[in-house]
């Protein structure tokens, strides 16, 4: 796609060209791999101002680092030439950026009205009991985390849950237990 004409006054600062940060987290140094950096530059071409790319860049960062740690916020703020407080303000506003590590299988059960009417609490209860965690918690082995979420636009196929990026719809308790079993055994879904 042809890049938009960019407003030079809003261009990122020189930090975007050379990454000097090298802070470490559990998941390694906080700096984009060359492939991710190339993606970052491609993302910038979609917007007339680089700041508008922030949300998309945060998705990229979450994919690369697993979660948006303070070190990641710092890195993104330097990379994009945005105040650290700005980046943090955006990260904290949106519920899908993880501000702490989540399980490898991140399970989000919709408990809004349409799902509630079709047994969402049974689904939530079954997951919670089986994994022995409540909403907002992660299992000790780091394999699973659980969340209650609001309507995911799947009300016609309720009850449902989101497993990482994937929707699982029209669920029964048996199906959910079967799904958890497969995940525990590391089987393909």
């Amino acid at each position: 796609m042809r890049p938009l004409r960019r407003d030079a006054s809003l261009e990122t600062n020189p930090m975007s060209q050379q990454t000097t940060t090298n802070k470490a987290t559990d998941s390694g140094p906080v700096v984009f791999r060359p492939e991710a950096l190339a993606e970052y530059h491609e993302i910038l071409t979609h917007y007339p101002e680089s700041r508008a790319a922030l949300g998309t860049v945060l998705w990229l960062a979450q994919r690369e680092f697993g979660w948006i740690s303070p070190a990641v916020e710092q890195y993104i703020s330097e990379l994009m030439g945005l105040p650290r407080a700005w980046v943090e303000g955006v990260v904290s506003f949106y519920s899908m950026y993880h501000r702490r590590p989540v399980g490898r299988s991140h399970i989000q059960v919709c408990t809004n009205l349409s799902c509630y009417l079709r047994g969402a609490e049974d689904i939530y209860g079954a997951v919670s009991k089986r994994l022995d965690i409540e909403a907002g918690e992660t299992t000790a082995d780091g394999k699973f985390s659980l969340e209650r979420v609001e309507c995911l636009g799947s009300c016609g196929t309720a009850p449902m849950l989101q497993l990482n990026d994937q929707f699982h719809e029209n669920l029964t308790v048996e199906q959910v237990l079967d799904l958890l079993g497969k995940l525990e055994r590391g089987e393909k879904l």
Partner: protein, 423 residues
């Protein structure tokens, strides 16, 4: 069976996601004709003539909205497709996005031509990861064919469509919240005026339209405004997507003429109530609109008729509840949602949604008092018409209507609490 237009994918055996199938079934011929032969003003005229009203919730006349665009500003105009679809009970846009993405792109191309836009965005809610990928691939295919990019249909015209993925916040569906979010900010709705058509994204004239609205534009231009106007009531016609969820046998999205009766939608298309159950209540247009009792469903599901019946067509997300439903518990879900999603800028909304949830939770947990019931109504009243956006109203309206239509259940909850306290 009536011909499906928006949900044509259901009648065809081919996968419309693949551009070659879409083209083979007539796709992109209208966009090509529009770009090469039809003046922008003429397209706007056709959309006005069709009486298309926005499918995102408010039902604002689309053609009229387009004419509000500020002229001769020297700035680019933007078209934003609202694919945030987060109103509880709503899941219709997803049907288009995931199954027939080119239909949306073609509608956007025609709309972009009409309003003189060269860069358009689809703002899709973060949870629709799959939908975002479907759209991205569709855009890449269209670019490859030369339908998008810097030489649209070889006519030397430029049009790019970008997918922007949200990250989980209902308020991004409100058009100025969406604009702020697209600019890389917290999605705090803006004070209006100025309206987006004058000062929108990046400070430029901007049109925000819903997915289904933009899909309708394609068909209006393809088949003519008269065809569109002949479907349903003339003051807001067209094919319409109704999403039915909750206690019905056959939930799902149904494409029907605008103004189909709510009873017919529930009883015929959605298969009626589950075995041995009776209808109790229906929310006709997403969780923020006033609820209807079982004896109020003989209404036409169009903007004006539902308004006359004291509710709103909204997003046409129909949530059906049978006689097993505890209305206090149901309202608790709804009130929790609005509290969770208030962006916090306005005091009546930030505080009010908190109070509503707190009181309804107390009632649901058997700790409610008479005083709570009065307070609930008062707090809700104070939240109407006083804030930057209408999320505050959207939180208050269900509360007032649940109390109005099912007050006895709330009073019974109070009596149970009093009884439990005395024992």
């Amino acid at each position: 069976m009536q011909e499906k237009v928006l949900l044509r994918y259901r009648d065809l055996s081919v996968d419309l996601k693949m551009i070659d199938n879409y083209i083979e079934s007539g796709g992109y011929s209208t966009a090509r004709r529009v770009f090469s032969e039809i003046a922008p003003e003429k397209v706007i005229e056709m959309v006005k003539e069709s009486n298309l009203r926005g499918r995102g919730g408010a039902g604002f006349p689309t053609g009229l909205k387009w004419t509000f665009l500020a002229k001769n500003t020297g700035k680019p105009n933007y078209l934003l497709c609202n694919a945030d679809e987060s109103e509880p009970g709503t899941f219709k846009d997803r049907a288009i996005i995931e199954n027939d993405p080119h239909q949306l792109l073609e509608g956007m191309m025609i709309s972009a031509h009409a309003i003189g836009c060269t860069n358009a965005y689809i703002y899709i809610r973060g949870e629709f990861a799959y939908g975002a990928e479907v759209l991205k691939r569709a855009i890449a295919e269209a670019c490859e064919k030369g339908f998008l990019g810097n030489d649209v249909f070889g006519l030397g015209r430029e049009l790019n469509i970008h997918v922007h993925r949200g990250a989980g916040a209902y308020i991004c569906g409100e058009e100025t919240g969406l604009i702020e979010s697209l600019e890389g900010k917290r999605a705090h709705p803006r004070i209006k005026p100025p309206f987006p058509a004058v000062y929108g994204v990046f400070g430029c004239p901007t049109i925000v339209n819903n997915v289904e609205t933009l899909a309708c534009v394609k068909h209006i231009v393809e088949r003519g405004p008269a065809w569109f106007k002949a479907i349903g009531p003339e003051t807001g016609p067209g094919p319409k997507l109704y999403g039915v969820s909750g206690h019905v046998r056959n939930p799902g999205v149904f494409e029907l003429p605008m103004g189909t009766s709510l009873r017919e939608i529930i009883e015929v298309h959605a298969g009626g109530m589950r075995e041995g159950r009776q209808l109790k209540a229906v929310i006709p247009g997403g969780s923020s609109v006033p609820i209807l009792r079982a004896d109020e469903i003989d209404i036409a599901m169009d903007f004006d008729s539902v308004a006359k019946a004291g509710s709103m067509l909204g997003s046409a997300g129909i949530i059906v509840m049978d006689d097993s439903t505890d209305m206090v518990a149901a309202l608790r879900r709804v009130s929790h949602f609005y509290h969770h999603e208030s962006c916090g800028q306005c005091t009546p909304c930030r505080e009010g949604t908190g109070w509503l949830e707190k009181i309804v939770t107390a009632l649901d947990e058997g700790r409610g008092t008479e005083e709570d019931l009065r307070k609930l109504d008062n707090v809700a009243k104070g939240m109407l018409g006083t804030t930057i956006c209408v999320l505050s109203d959207a939180a208050a309206m269900p509360v007032r209507s649940f109390l109005d239509k099912f007050g006895e259940e709330f009073r019974a909850a109070v009596r149970r609490s009093a009884g439990a306290a005395a024992a």
